[in-house]
Amino acid sequence: MATVTAAISISSRDLHSNGISISNSSVLTQAGISTGITGSTGLASKTLTQNTAFTLIDYSVDDITSSGHEKVYIKNTSTSSTQYVQVLLGSVEVGRLYGGDWLFMPTLAPDSSDLKVTPSTTDSVTLEYMALY
């Protein structure tokens, strides 16, 4: 087992008149127990040049089981504020990552719904990503 810590900080002085400052940190553990996770895809990078769906994380190939504690990190390394990458689970679009955006979310490793991404244009875009399980 390993000790993996994921932390977030959200801050704004003017989104609310009193300011916003939220911090949270969690140690990633296996489902239902306090033992640390053991696996990852490793931090990977993929450059896409077509605006068609690409399977970023193939749960069967990557040997990710549906234990329930799996997490995914994805970052769009582009600097474009107009071009984005759709993040999809099955046919459902979770959301869009514009240049510089990132996400960190749980994923249940569904049988038929691999995690896919679809760029908005054919311009080159590079994603950094990692599944932890």
């Binding site: 810590t5 977030i8 990852s40 504690h69 990190y73």
Partner: protein, 141 residues
């Protein structure tokens, strides 16, 4: 417009024995396709009882293709407890006690709600949605 910055770190010294994991990034939350900061926010703290899948955030037609960023944290400490997050009947994943998530949320349509269900007991969560383009509904009375 407002400036909201979201920072992330992912660290481990032993997940990969030969290479410590040190990921750090941050982004400023903008309106969709623009470099104008998001200017609206909703946040809350709720107790989620088991046995029912609840709407945590309702998708609206006004939010389709707009920028919405959602943070959810499970505040429980019992490691066996979790909440399941669903969007449009697709299970996204589980947040076990202490877990958090941060995602962009595109309201594809008005049924693209973010739903939440507790595995058992009553679980406390905190959430925040930073967004654009919300207009309050006209009062019915």
């Amino acid at each position: 417009m407002a400036t909201t910055t979201c920072s992330f770190t992912l660290n481990s010294s032993d997940l990969i024995s030969t290479a410590p994991l040190n990921v750090a990034t941050s982004n400023v939350l903008y309106k969709a396709g623009l470099q104008i900061g998001l200017d609206q926010v909703r946040m809350g703290r709720n107790e989620i009882t088991s046995g029912t899948n609840f709407d945590l955030l309702d998708a609206t037609a006004a939010a389709i293709d707009k920028s919405n960023w959602v943070y959810i944290a499970n505040l429980e400490t019992d490691v066996t407890l979790y909440v399941t997050i669903t969007i449009d009947a697709e299970v996204i994943g589980r947040l076990y006690a202490g877990d958090w998530m941060f995602i962009p949320w595109n309201c594809d349509d008005a049924t693209h709600d973010i739903e939440i269900e507790a595995s058992s007991g009553t679980q406390t969560i905190e959430w925040m949605c930073m967004h654009e383009n919300e207009t309050l509904a006209t009062a019915a009375d």
